[in-house]
């Protein structure tokens, strides 16, 4: 029996041995003369190494993947009748107990002899499985090497075989992006469908009340949760709107100043400083919002005679706006730099001042690209999580007043999913439904924005 990491190391060792053997074999087949070989000697080495490593690695992965399920089945089949006939959720508890016993953890309640026996059985099966894994993987690696050894001749097209394998790997890597998207869609969609079985989709999308408390007992106060997400959507839009009010003018004007007016020295200093804002983690902005900006906003409101909630939408929106400034400015900088110099020169030749050129010529020409950039920024604001989790409230108020506390889609996802959770309650499933809405909305915004930006680029290319 071998621990998985050591087995992986052993496999790595065997592949290197395979490389060495393959190379030697090629030389001996070509009677020591490299010009007799079809491919460079190292390709024969790689050929043998691939045969040693890949089949064994595949078996290794498949084994580890299936091991848990198979062992569970075997142990279940070996349980006494009275345990087997338990309802599925009780059976799961029993299984957990068995696993905990095997792992040496604390077990709930007393250990009955049947469970102790099952735990021993589990440990035995697991040990056998690990032994089998070691033997089979090492055997397969050796077998693969032997097979390659037999295959290698002087005229063996080793390079083509190796390059073919590499191509397959490249193609497989490039499909991961697709698989990620599919994975996101499926995982979010399935849980959402389960949620919509419990809560009608119309109530979710158009309901005005959000209080996702599900009672443990049926007779508890507030036992029926309300899952109307409109207050969350409104809160998200409010905070994003405030953020854009901060980010768009500041970002756009800084981009214009930096690209059109600023001297070389000033630009060399100011631009990286602005980019620091983009590199600050969002959790830092969240802390800044909660610790500094929110009290500042509240005190300012108090001196003006306004009552401001300590977790006001204004504070969260302001800080989110600061976060997005560099995003807006770098995107609009790119877009305005893409406007052909000829258009600028034409405007100057007509006697326009610099600001007139910018306002009347460059800005209109760059507008589609800027709009695309702003859409991307909006999608970012909607999906931003940490700032609102830390600085916006959890109370689902339906209000347009920026001085009150609102909550957002992302903040609710975090609250619903962090901490103890049972996976089947509507409360946790609601988080996935919110995630679905978030994904769809940001996807639409991104597709439109990317399309606009791309169209615009083609226009001037």
């Amino acid at each position: 029996m071998m621990q998985a990491p050591y087995l992986a190391l052993a496999l790595l060792g065997l592949t290197s041995v395979g490389y060495y053997l393959g190379r030697r074999r090629a030389f001996s087949q070509a009677s020591g003369k490299i010009q007799n070989l079809h491919s460079l000697p190292s390709y024969y080495g790689f050929y043998a190494a691939l045969w040693a490593g890949i089949p064994a690695l595949l078996l290794f992965a498949a084994w580890l993947f299936l091991e848990g399920a198979v062992i569970t089945q075997v142990v279940l089949a070996g349980l006494p009748e009275e345990l087997k006939s338990l309802p599925p959720d009780r059976l799961n508890l029993v299984l957990n107990d068995i696993r905990n016993l095997v792992g040496g953890n604390i077990v709930s309640g007393e250990v009955s002899p049947a469970i102790q026996a099952a735990a021993d059985h589990y440990a035995d099966v697991k040990a056998a499985s690990r032994l089998g894994l070691t033997v089979f993987v090492l055997a397969l690696a050796l077998g693969g090497t032997a097979w390659a050894w037999r295959e290698i001749r002087a005229d063996k097209r080793a390079r083509n075989a190796v390059e073919g394998t590499v191509t397959v790997f490249l193609i497989a890597a490039s499909t991961i992006a697709i698989m990620t998207t599919v994975g996101i869609v499926l995982s979010v969609l399935f849980e959402s469908i389960r949620f919509f079985e419990a809560v009608p989709i119309t109530e979710f999308l158009f309901g005005l009340e959000w209080s996702p408390q599900m009672a443990i007992r049926a007779d508890q106060v507030g036992s029926s949760g309300a899952f109307g997400a409109v207050p969350l959507f409104a809160g998200t839009l409010l905070i994003s709107f405030i953020a854009m009010l901060v980010a768009v003018p500041i970002g756009l004007m800084s981009a214009i100043y930096l690209s059109e007016y600023a001297g070389k020295k000033f630009r060399a200093v100011a631009k990286p400083l602005l980019e620091i804002l983009a590199g600050v983690p969002t959790v830092v902005y969240g802390f800044f919002a909660a610790l500094t900006v929110a009290p500042m906003v509240r005190d300012t409101g108090a001196t003006l005679g306004l009552s401001v909630a300590s977790e006001s939408a204004l504070a969260a929106g302001l800080v989110m706006g600061i976060m997005i400034i560099p995003f807006v400015s770098s995107l609009s900088d790119d877009v305005m730099n893409a406007v052909p110099q000829a258009m600028r020169d034409g405007a100057y030749a007509l006697g326009a001042t610099q600001s007139e050129t910018i306002k009347r010529v460059i800005f209109p020409a760059a507008l589609p690209g800027i709009v695309g950039g702003i859409l991307l920024a909006v999608s970012r604001a909607i999906g931003e999580t940490m700032i609102v989790v830390m600085a916006a409230g959890l109370a689902a108020n339906l209000t347009a007043n920026p001085l009150e506390a609102v909550t957002t889609v992302t903040a609710q996802i975090v609250t619903l999913l962090v901490g103890d959770q049972e996976f089947d309650s509507p409360k946790t499933l609601a988080a996935f439904a919110l995630g679905l809405v978030l994904f769809v909305v940001t996807l639409i915004l991104n597709v439109i924005a990317l399309h606009v930006v791309r169209k615009y680029r083609e226009q001037y290319e």
């Binding site: 499909t175 959790v283 800044f288 999608s379 992302t410 991104n446």
Partner: protein, 439 residues
């Protein structure tokens, strides 16, 4: 001169010629020009103001966390409390009543304190970490038992806050964390030279704790390292492979178009959605352990892949075609041309992109909350499958804690995180400056 009178009377209102019009409008236009420039200056000024406000607030709150208040105690290692059986067995020693020893020491220092409640407030001056410190000392050197030693132990976080001036003495007693009696005791200790601020090594070497004076970032830093290691090992090869395929091999068809659109979109998907994916797929479907760096690494890999792919493609594009053609011309296969000639030349650009992607991953919080890396974990993680947390999540957890002492520790942890990020980004810039070739 001999114009009609009507003409003369109109001369004042006569539309001026265009030169005059332009001239008349010039002051206004120049003013507008000036104003516009000022808008730009104000915008940049505001952005920089926000930036400096952010840093001032973090540094201002955080720099004191690098020091910690210690109290000097004359501890008598009482054999009756530490080793009642008297056989010096390690098990018995580690189970000794060190809390009692500390309390006895405090009672000896303030013999006038009577009454249970007063005594309890007295014990509150010293951190519970003192007990552990005594135990460590005894376990390392059992001959201490029966001796009296002078040693410095960490003070409680409230005392620490007072010494750093974060507790206002002028407040009424009931609004203060420290009561009048405690203030008097602390003042006496200060007068006796028994209170000192020292460099806070605990902060850099300990894991998380409920007691601010015992809490450190090392556990989270190690968790971050494990998570980033997994991310790097997976995302760099996969990202480079994808970029090579798309840039060098892929035929132009619908499938590759789809992949491209997908990658661009994934780059803009909110990070929390990746967390949902991780929770549903890696934890619930594949049954990987919750809170483990390996799951965090997988999620962050999917998140950083688009960044790395986009940067790597740009790097590959910047290698001039003549290199490829020369390689093909002397008989290299396409694969050889790419792996022997183009990839090495594109590598600095790819590494720059990877470092930037890693910096993003290091600062990411939201998806890790979803996969349970928010657990309260005291131990330093020892592997990628053990429960762990990461630096940004540690910051989030501390930011939620009500104790005043955690505010400065949160800020200090942010300073450490920012230091890492700035180093990584500086590395990327240096790499680009040093190795980037313009063809």
């Amino acid at each position: 001169m001999n114009r009609p009178a009507t003409g003369q009377s109109q001369a004042g209102k006569k539309p001026p010629n265009s030169m005059e019009m332009v001239r008349a409008s010039l002051p206004k236009r120049y003013a507008r020009e000036k104003r516009f420039q000022w808008y730009g200056r104000v915008a940049i000024g505001m952005a920089l103001l926000f930036l400096s406000l952010l840093f001032i607030s973090i540094v201002g709150n955080g720099y004191t966390a690098f020091q910690q208040t210690y109290v000097k105690l004359d501890v008598y290692f009482d054999p009756d409390r530490i080793d009642p059986s008297g056989d010096r067995a390690p098990d018995a020693l580690s189970a000794g009543d060190y809390g009692g020893v500390v309390k006895q020491t405090l009672r000896n220092m303030f013999p006038e304190v009577r009454g249970r409640r007063d005594k309890r407030t007295l014990y509150g001056l010293v951190s519970t970490g003192a007990d552990f410190k005594l135990r460590e000392m005894v376990l390392a050197d059992p001959s201490l038992i029966g001796e009296t030693a002078t040693l410095w132990v960490p003070a409680d976080d409230d005392v620490d806050m007072l010494m750093k001036g974060h507790i206002d003495r002028s407040l009424p007693e009931e609004d203060r964390r420290l009561k009048d009696k405690q203030l008097a005791w602390i003042d006496r200790l200060v007068d006796e030279g028994r209170v000192e601020k020292r460099f806070n090594t605990t902060f850099f070497t300990a894991g998380d704790s409920r007691e601010p004076e015992l809490a450190g970032i090392w556990g989270a830093a190690v968790g971050s390292m494990f998570t980033l290691a997994v991310t790097l090992l997976l995302s760099f090869p996969l990202g480079v492979a994808t970029a090579v395929y798309l840039e060098e091999f892929a035929p132009k068809n619908r499938w590759t178009d789809l992949i491209e659109v997908n990658i661009n979109n994934l780059a803009a998907v909110p990070s929390i959605v990746f967390g949902l994916l991780g929770l549903a797929v890696f934890i619930n479907f594949f049954g990987l352990p919750r809170s483990a760096p390996v799951v965090g690494g997988l999620v962050l890999t999917l998140m950083t892949l688009p960044t790395i792919i986009i940067a790597s493609r740009a790097a590959l594009k910047s290698v001039p075609p003549s290199i490829r053609e020369a390689a093909l011309g002397v008989g290299a296969s396409k694969m050889q041309a790419i792996f022997h000639h183009i990839l090495p030349l594109a590598m600095p650009g790819m590494l720059t992109g990877t470092i930037i992607g890693m910096a993003q991953a290091l600062g990411e919080t939201a998806p890790l909350l979803m996969i349970g890396m928010v657990a309260f974990i005291v131990d330093i993680p020892g592997g990628v499958t053990e429960p762990a947390t990461v630096l940004p999540v540690q910051i989030y957890l501390w930011a939620d804690s009500p104790e005043r002492a955690f505010v400065e520790r949160t800020s200090a942890a942010i300073m450490v995180l920012l230091a890492f990020l700035i180093t990584m980004n500086a590395l990327a810039v240096i790499l680009r400056k040093r190795f980037e070739r313009r063809w």
